[in-house]
Amino acid sequence: MAKYIFNRLFHSVLVMFTISFIVFFIMFKAGDPVELMLPIDATQQEVIEMKHALGLDQSFIIQYGKFLENVAQGNLGNSFRYGQPALDIVIERFPATLELSVLAMIFSIILGIPLGIISSLKPNSILSRVIMFFSLIGISVPVFWTGMILVLIFSVVFGVLPSSGRGEVFLFTSALTWDGIKHLIMPVITLSAFQLALILRLTRTGMMEVLLQDYIKLATAKGVPRRIIVYYHALKNTLIPLITVIGIQFGQLVAFTIITETIFAWPGTGKLIIDSIQNLDRPIVVAYLLCISVIFVAINFIVDVLYTFIDPRVRV
């Protein structure tokens, strides 16, 4: 186990090193941030001074070397645009994104798995058909449309839910205040629509496959109650592929809350990263992608460990 963790850590560092290099290089090639920071009529002298102040007058290799040197000291550099440490800016906005993604994931799981099971047991019943119809909508309707329609109905027409913002925040999260919860409802539903439908459909397919297997027939023949067969024997075997997908999807949620955050003016990292890319704010983009890769690495690790609990044949 220790060796496994060590290997994993080593790989992660390598991944992050590569990511930082690629991002650094792309941002270096993408254009000149100083051009966007100074007015059009700035003198050549001002441009040179600003470049020097930001260290952008150096060659790529030297800039990247400086960056690595600073990273070794735990410093990811100051944002060009905000003038503050890039990592602080990213971390300051991570709780908002995490809370949205975690809640959306929980919501999708606690609704998606039971609904998937229900629709797999009697695939031709009316209830199953209704469930499948809505899951089709969830899979195919684009996020911005869902978001805007919710806003139109619940904020503009009925005025029961706030259309945007995070509301009152207590201890890094808005899920602990009533005002905050009201602000969370629509973004969470919007963000989870696709995930919910995906998990539901995967559960259904998995269950339908597993329920045809011989050991289920054996269990039935042995007289094991239907409830235990479905929720213990069958579900456990359906869960393995599901957990992989949920893991990947969670990473996707954290990294791609951009649209939801934009619609609901949610102050998370998604909006930050779009703005920063547009403004060529390299330190923030690099810091953000490094944070995201840490999260992905962590999720993959957790998924691997979870396997061993669900399927004892799997060893790390």
Partner: protein, 510 residues
């Protein structure tokens, strides 16, 4: 009895909460820093103008008026003596005096990351005469010094001195009518009234600025009553806002001119294919043909949904230097074709029009409409719309033959555009002149005008420079001025300003 008192007290408390004058403002972009010298950017300047005072300020029509300076004299053309306001206190109770002014100008001029260096570039030196008098010396006679001073918010020396730049940008301490309560980046900026402000106690007690960058989100927020004011109402949603009987809709002509500029100095321009092999834009008749051949009225009507004003000159009438005698000439494709034929291009030519696609209102659609218009007079235009980060980088490298850009004469004086874009590109002026238009007579007029202290006399020079550059030589093609669109609740008294800033001190509720 005791119970009754408690109920009464609670009611009183509640009603005071209800009637507390709070204002929520949905803005199209957020502030970048709370350090007034870091980024010279419209929204940041707008929000910080509520926290920091400058020596001089603009009224709502960008005329200068006293602020922290109460009076000034200009004994010699390059020397300005400013008397400072007495009894002014910063938000933390510190006194305002000449030391704060000297400290502030030292930082705005010399800090290596200052975004306002060009604003104060003409100031040679500044010194303290006594606690409430300062002296500014300019490099040359500089008639618009006072306009430039409106951009420099005054910091408190005692608070800021010795602090890191990271600290300064999170802890704004000014003398303005509002002080910062919280800044949750990307979410909200909360300000509260500074009751000891020298202009008097502000009417609105608490202000929340919320960056709602998505157009639909911003409109939903005002329609649902979550915010009281929004700026930049998207043109497609104007009808919905107007239909709502709880909202006012306000159109304020802005300062930004949208125009087309073209390569006027290279025989062989990078993105032109002409039958003669030469750069057609070198010929004034071709430039005129473009002006007559673009149906600007159609652009305003269909692309801008009537929310833009066709431009006949460099800046709108509120700007000093405006010439009432110049009117926009009519769209005349026939005349355009004649001019083209005269210049030797009866069958037109091919050119690429570069345009940003995320900088100005409907920028890439305007470029498309221009291309459609010009195709009717035989000029084949391909539109190359790119994000502003790419656009400006290529533009500075002059890797363009024909491009769309905008300019706001934000200090309210025509010298802004004349110096930056019309003057020949040299070591001191013309840095935004990416078409490299150059005319000795125009340059002379601009240079002379910048040293004339008498406004009437100066106006003549500015107008003459414009007449030659634009009417005679068509140095670029003016399209239209953008307008600012606001929506706000019927119970709010709010009059938008020409400089697009939201100055909360002048807002009140009924």
């Amino acid at each position: 009895m005791k119970k009754l008192l408690i109920v009464l007290a609670a009611t009183a408390l509640l009603s005071s909460v209800c009637f507390a004058k709070d204002l929520k403002i949905g803005i199209a972009s957020g502030a970048l820093a709370m350090d007034p010298y870091y980024q010279n950017e419209t929204t940041t300047n707008s929000i910080l103008s509520n926290i920091f005072d400058s020596l001089i300020s603009f009224d709502k029509d960008i005329k200068t008026k006293p602020s922290l300076a109460v009076s000034w004299a200009n004994p010699e053309p390059t020397v300005w003596i400013l008397k400072l306001r007495k009894g002014v206190k910063f938000h933390n109770g510190n006194n305002f005096n000449a030391d704060d002014v000297i400290f502030s100008f030292d930082r705005v001029k010399n800090w290596d990351k200052s975004g306002f260096k060009s604003t104060v570039a003409m100031i040679e030196s500044f010194s303290k005469i006594d606690d409430f008098t300062v002296k500014f010396v300019t490099k040359k006679p500089f008639p618009i010094l006072l306009r430039k001073l409106t951009y420099v918010g005054i910091l408190d020396k005692e608070t800021v001195e010795g602090k890191s730049n990271e600290w300064i940008t999170l802890n704004p301490v000014g003398t303005g009518p509002y002080k910062l309560v919280t800044w949750r980046k990307g979410d909200l900026i909360k300000l509260t009234a500074y009751n000891d402000h020298w202009r008097g106690k502000p009417e609105i007690e608490n202000v929340v600025f919320r960056p709602l960058t998505n157009n639909a989100t911003r409109v939903a927020a005002i329609l649902s009553g979550e915010v009281d004011i929004i700026n930049r109402v998207p043109v497609v949603d104007v009808a919905r806002v107007r239909r709502n009987d709880k909202l006012n809709f306000f159109v304020k002509p802005g300062l930004r001119l949208i125009f087309l500029q073209m390569d006027q100095f290279r025989e062989d321009s990078p993105h032109i294919k002409s039958p003669t092999g030469k750069n057609p834009f070198l010929d004034v008749r071709v430039r005129k043909a473009l002006f007559y051949g673009i149906n600007e009225d159609a652009i305003v009507k269909y692309v801008m949904k009537d929310f833009a004003i066709p431009a006949a000159q460099f800046s709108p009438s509120v700007v000093f230097g405006y010439d009432p005698s110049i009117e926009r000439e009519k769209y005349d494709p026939k005349k355009a074709k004649e001019l083209l034929a005269e210049a030797g291009y009866p069958n037109g030519f091919e050119v690429q029009l570069d345009s940003p696609n995320n900088r100005y209102i409907n920028d890439s659609q305007i470029a498309q409409a221009v291309a459609a218009s010009l195709s009717k007079i035989g000029i084949k235009v391909t539109v190359n719309a790119t994000p502003k980060s790419t656009f400006w980088a290529e533009n500075r490298k002059l890797n363009t033959s024909f491009f769309l850009m905008g300019w706001a004469s934000a200090d309210g004086d025509a010298s802004s555009i004349l110096d930056a874009i019309v003057h020949s590109y040299d070591t001191v002026k013309g840095f935004g002149n990416r078409g490299r238009f150059s005319n000795a007579e125009v340059d002379a007029l601009i240079d002379q005008s910048s040293a004339i202290m008498n406004p009437d006399e100066r106006l003549k020079y500015l107008q003459k420079a414009q007449k030659i550059a634009l009417t005679d030589l068509q140095c670029f093609i003016p399209l239209h001025y953008q307008v600012d669109l606001y929506a706000f609740g019927k119970t709010i008294n709010f009059e938008p300003r020409t400089d697009s800033r939201i100055w909360v001190f002048d807002i009140s509720t009924q």
